[in-house]
């Protein structure tokens, strides 16, 4: 397996410019001869589809919801980073680059991150031009807030609905292209497999979620922008439909999967209320700007929060990390919450919760100001919990939120399968072992608006127009037959357990053994239990109805089947990486104070896994990470 990252030569600040000059172009009249399939229309896929269509390519877009506007990017709350330095507080392209590399605990690729920082400013320009109503100051200029892991204010936001507004921006540009006839949309269509012909990605096999029809679609290349796999934990802040299916099936066709164990557990989510829980709701990180996190000093203290005096509270983040305080990066804030709960000091009826308290901020700024900043989040909290956060502190606990791991891509965002590009959360590229808040929206839009429009043209120009084929090609028929066979098998099992109950059980295994803290014994146990559960699924799952229908049980089961294979890969990766870095905390590798111990001598690489068969262990390949600009140090937020 060839893991050449194709990083351009030259000084880091000049690589992207140089590359854009060096890459080959397709002349405007020829662009319309090329057709690209884009799976996913969130920020990454939506922005790519709109931009590629504007350039003249023929675009076909696929997604499982009824509308592109409903991709899970819509749910992002807090904001989007950009190195605009509008606050004159010392920000720069280099500082955003540096913060992102450091925040990722030195497990990302320098050149990619630098490019991300460079294009970040253009993203804000583009979004404003589309009509995204970012927050403004009284003078009419754009406002910023600060986010975890940074000491400058570089986060642009639109109330607590930044993702919604950015996605509606991309969606409006995409809708314009649909109206002009340049993009063909395939809503309620799920990708089930990738078609690779002569070593190149040439199409996909999909299932229509309304009619059940399985069919092939052919193009000159394929782009995946299918989001993250946080639902491997069953409970997460992701939408119910978020899945690993598209990425995983591409992996089974030969695309390397990079760093699957790098997952992000977000510190501020509403705690689990009971067994019926179907998902967890994020309370934006921006709340940590004004909220203070604490637990009682004593495990025996069962008083109501407002009855606990200051002297009996432990503001543990402020105590342990005085310079970043409540704004430490997510991995650290989550782990600290777990630690205090493991000590028995957790709050709420399950004991898995900590307080996020706004009393001081309300006293200092007034209730109106807090309402203006976070009003909709406070309302959402009250709707879900029945408690009023203006009066009692919020209860929060970490939850699965984002996945840094994903399909391996080179500097051009191409996977190890030529012609398969991967954008947004679905690729592994820019966040290393931990993503900083407000950087996923930035990355998705950078990939879609400003990177793929160049690198896709380069691929086409370098490879030339591939041989024309149609959906009668034997490879299409073969892959379709495999997909049909799998669906029929699922429907024929007729066992006694629902796919949801098996998914929930898988989630428990993963949360316990491959969640916020991991150790060898636990991971080994997971490695035993996952194949057992997978076997139980294939022998005992109960899926009602038929394929030729809007069949919600079948839809869910297909996704669970892939999580049941993928989770094993995640555990293997976690087992293999014998160090603690970012979101990957191996209990064996920590200091006496409980801080992560990274091992740069042995693990300063990307782990890219190659599929070898469902019951055969995959093979790991290493892409060494070379740091020419940033010096590797122990991350300190003290």
């Amino acid at each position: 397996m060839n893991l050449d990252a194709k990083i351009p030569s030259g000084p880091i600040a000049e690589k992207w410019d140089k590359h854009r000059f060096d890459i080959k172009l397709i002349n405007p009249a020829n662009k319309r001869k090329y057709k690209v399939i884009i799976v996913g229309t969130g920020l990454a896929g939506g922005s790519a589809a709109a931009t590629l269509a504007e350039l003249g390519y023929q675009v076909e877009a696929f997604f499982y919801q009824d509308s592109a506007r409903r991709a899970h990017s819509i749910a992002a709350q807090g904001g989007i980073n950009a190195a605009k330095n509008y606050q004159n507080d010392g920000d720069s392209v280099y500082r955003l680059f540096y913060d992102t590399v450091k925040g990722g605990d030195y497990r990302s690729r320098e050149a990619n991150v630098y490019r991300l920082s460079q294009v970040s400013a253009s993203i804000i320009d583009q979004c404003v031009a589309q009509g995204v109503p970012f927050a403004r100051e009284y003078g009419g200029y754009l406002d910023n807030r600060s986010f975890g892991g940074a000491q400058v204010s570089r986060t642009f936001y639109a109330r607590g609905q930044t993702g919604q507004q950015l996605l509606l921006g991309a969606y409006s540009s995409l809708s314009r292209q649909v109206g002009l006839g340049n993009v063909r949309m395939h809503p309620r269509t799920e990708m089930h497999d990738l078609i690779v012909i002569d070593g190149k990605a040439r199409g996909i096999v999909t299932r229509n979620l309304v009619t059940g029809k399985v069919e092939s679609h052919i193009a000159d290349s394929v782009i995946l922008a299918t989001g993250g796999y946080g639902n491997v934990f069953y409970l997460s802040t992701n939408a119910i439909g978020c899945n690993v299916t598209a990425a995983y099936r591409a992996y089974k066709r030969g695309a390397a999967f990079a760093n699957p164990c790098f997952t992000q557990i977000h510190p501020t989510c509403i705690p689990v209320a009971g067994d019926h829980q179907s998902k967890l709701t994020l309370m934006s990180e921006s709340l940590r700007n004004d909220g203070r996190i604490w637990v009682p000093k004593s495990a025996d203290d069962k008083r109501a929060p407002n009855d606990i005096p200051e002297s009996d509270r432990d503001y543990y983040l402020e105590r342990k990390y005085p310079s970043f305080g409540n704004l430490t990066p997510r991995d650290i804030a989550s782990r600290s919450a777990k630690q205090v709960c493991d000590e028995g000091r957790g709050i709420g009826h399950t004991g898995y919760g900590v307080y996020l308290d706004f009393k001081d901020a309300i006293n200092r700024l007034g209730k109106d100001k807090i309402e203006e900043r976070y009003g909709n989040l406070f309302e959402m909290y009250e709707r879900i919990t029945g408690e009023n956060p203006y009066e009692v502190p919020m209860r929060i606990y970490p939850a699965s939120h984002y996945t840094m791991g994903g399909l391996w891509v080179d500097y051009n965002l191409m996977s190890t399968i030529p012609g398969l590009h991967v954008l947004g959360e679905a690729n592994f590229s820019d966040h290393g072992a931990n993503r900083l808040g407000a950087s996923a929206l930035m990355q998705g839009l950078a990939d879609g608006y400003f990177v793929i429009p160049y690198t896709l043209g380069h691929y086409y120009a370098a490879e030339g127009k591939p041989e024309p084929i149609d959906t009668d090609h034997p490879e299409c028929k073969r892959v379709e037959a495999e997909v049909n066979e799998k669906l029929n098998k699922l429907l024929s099992i007729n066992g006694n357990r629902t796919a949801v109950s098996i998914h929930r059980e898988l989630g428990n295994i993963m949360w316990e053994h491959c969640g916020m803290a991991r150790n060898e014994a636990g991971l080994m146990k997971a490695l035993e239990r996952i194949p057992e559960l997978r076997q139980e699924f294939w022998e005992n799952v109960n899926i009602t109805g038929e394929n030729e229908d809007y069949n919600i049980a079948l839809e869910r089961a297909g996704r669970v089947a892939d999580f049941l294979e993928f989770s094993e890969l995640m555990v293997r990766d976690a087992l293999e990486r014998k160090e603690s870095c970012g979101g990957h905390f191996r209990e064996e590798y920590q200091t006496e104070e409980g801080e992560a111990v990274r091992n740069d001598d042995d693990y300063c690489h990307v782990s890219a896994w190659e599929f070898k068969g469902v019951d055969t262990p995959p093979v790991m390949h290493k892409e060494p990470l070379v740091y020419e600009n940033v010096k590797l140090t122990t991350r300190s937020y003290k």
């Binding site: 506007r69 409903r70 998902k279 109805g545 229908d549 919600i552």
Partner: protein, 248 residues
């Protein structure tokens, strides 16, 4: 608590459809409304019956997927709340609940509680955008926008495209949905160039898709989970009249 549910079941677009009654025995007040339906579906699958199809994804009140009419009200009894954010603590033991899809001529039923809202897509495609090619934008701060203007635009932009406004309206009018987009873009300086063309195209498309007209019942505002105010309909009407008057 124990509940009796009366749910609209319809196999597909051609089927007549009917209400079917189900009983649930163990509903916790902390459940969301959709989690209550999850419990029902798990029971149905275990009994080898077809689960109730309903649309949902984010379950946070932002994607606009969920689309249930509960006891005759789009998104149910709580104001400013999508049905996925409605919690069972608002119900009591022994309650009977009627659950139906969003009903409108322009939203045909696909199955059970799932409807086809493709008509909204086509309305947006007809003009709900600012034509700003990627790469052509000036520096973001070169267009100062007053805080109040930006806030007004935001109030309209908050629409999640769920279609409750249409389901609530006895004319099945999409005026609030269309007005929200027209006003979002029309209240911003960037949206001025295409302002007239936009409103003309979107209104024409709305009529073509079979949505009814507005006769000022304002049921739409009452059910809107994002509380988009009807004043935007008035603004759209003004824009529309002006555009008609000045176009040829």
């Amino acid at each position: 608590m124990k509940l009796t549910l009366h749910i609209w079941r319809q196999k597909n677009v051609h089927d007549q459809g009917r209400m079917v009654t189900y009983k649930l025995d163990d509903v916790s007040p902390d459940m969301s409304f959709l989690e209550m339906l999850d419990v029902l579906n798990e029971e149905l699958i275990s009994k080898r019956e077809d689960p109730v199809a309903f649309e949902h994804d984010c379950r946070e009140g932002i994607c606009g997927c969920c689309s249930l009419t509960v006891d005759g009200i789009a998104h149910g009894p709580e104001r400013a709340t999508t049905v996925c954010q409605l919690h069972m603590r608002h119900y009591s033991d022994g309650d009977e609940i009627y659950i139906e899809p969003f009903r409108a001529r322009a939203f045909p039923v696909i199955k059970d509680l799932v409807v086809d809202r493709g008509s909204f897509e086509r309305v947006i495609q007809s003009g709900g955008f600012i034509s700003a090619r990627t790469g052509s934008a000036p520096d973001a701060n070169s267009i100062p926008i007053g805080k109040d203007e930006a806030e007004t635009a935001f109030d309209a932009a908050a629409c999640i495209g769920c279609g409750a406004c249409v389901a609530a309206c006895k004319n099945s009018s999409a005026m609030l949905f269309v007005a929200a987009k027209v006003s979002h873009l029309g209240n911003l300086p960037q949206g001025q160039v295409e302002r007239q063309e936009r409103v003309l195209n979107m209104v024409a498309k709305m009529d073509e898709e079979g949505f009814g007209g507005c006769t000022n019942y304002y049921e739409c505002e009452a059910v809107c989970p994002k509380q988009i105010p009807v004043k935007f309909i008035a603004q759209m009407n003004r824009d529309y009249l002006k555009a008609v008057a000045t176009s040829d």
